[in-house]
């Protein structure tokens, strides 16, 4: 039996804070993410500072998971010092067939999106009991 590799949402491996190439005219940034695996599935955490719940979209089209968010905050007064600019976030991942599309859940808290991507039943690891005869 061939060793089965775990499902890795594949994205282009590039530097952080880089813009994702889209046809849209606005500038988009790739949010940094952590993706880790649990026995139940994958967990994806993405930093999306300045994105309100209503401006965040998580979209799944076949195998393509798209996270896009619009960061907005209107600052009072005149800017006297600037280290960052809020921009729109956009990043795509490819899902494999082991992810149960129907059970994906998303939570946005303190500017961090947590996506839970459960595995389908047949992809979950199973313990096989060894009987001594």
């Amino acid at each position: 039996m061939a060793e089965k590799t775990v499902p890795v949402p594949r994205g282009p491996e590039r530097g952080k804070g880089e813009r994702e190439i889209t046809r849209a005219r606005e500038r988009n940034l790739r949010p940094p993410v952590d993706i880790y695996e649990t026995p139940e599935g994958l967990v994806l955490m993405a930093d999306l500072p300045g994105v309100a719940k209503e401006n965040l979209q998580v979209h799944i089209d076949n195998d393509l998971l798209t996270i896009s968010g619009k960061a907005s905050h209107v600052a009072a007064g005149d800017t006297i010092y600037r280290e960052y600019e809020l921009a729109n976030f956009y990043r795509q991942f490819e899902l494999n067939e082991e992810i149960d599309r129907e059970k994906i859940s998303a939570e946005l808290k303190h500017g961090v999106l947590t996506l839970r991507l459960p595995k389908t039943e047949k992809a979950k690891p199973k313990q096989i009991e060894v009987r001594v005869s």
Binding site: K16, D47, G77
Partner: protein
């Protein structure tokens, strides 16, 4: 605003050049892009923007994922210190379970020197969508005053 001090100007310039070079070499992209996101390369964390109007200074820090209960703000004269902790993924996740690990996590402290003195009794802070918004009223003596000219 504080009085113009050429030494401070030079110091600011030196710091900006340092910042540009710190990021140079790690990035395949122009260095300024690294300043947009709180990745691991960010040296001064959290990144801040400062705005002002007549009576207030507004300091905004980009701090996604920070536990608001861990945040501590202290103001002494014109210096603001932000400290706190950004929690990473749960600690029981094994290293080999990670497919991507790009977000920074850990404890941080950052001090910012503000251009004017602050009324430290009335500082307000709000944490919204991963942005820390601090409103600092200027001290009475730091506000601009109108002086009427009397005609003798």
């Amino acid at each position: 605003m504080a009085t113009w001090d050429p030494w401070r100007e030079i110091d600011e310039l030196r710091r900006e050049v340092d910042r540009a070079f710190e990021e140079f070499g790690f990035q395949t992209e122009p260095a300024f892009r690294a300043a947009f996101l709180p990745g691991r390369l960010a040296r001064g964390y959290p990144l801040v923007n400062v705005h002002e109007d007549r009576d207030h200074l507004y300091v905004e820090a980009m701090a996604p994922g920070i536990d608001p209960n861990s945040l501590k703000l202290t103001v002494v004269h014109n210096s603001l210190t932000i400290s706190g902790e950004k929690k990473g993924p749960p600690s029981d996740v094994k290293a080999e379970s990670f497919h991507r690990e790009e977000r920074a996590a850990g404890k941080f402290v950052r001090s910012i020197t503000l251009p004017v003195e602050i009324d430290d009794q009335n500082v307000k802070a709000e944490f919204k969508n991963g942005l820390l918004l601090i409103t600092l009223p200027k001290a009475e003596k730091a506000k601009p005053k109108q002086i009427s000219v009397q005609v003798a």
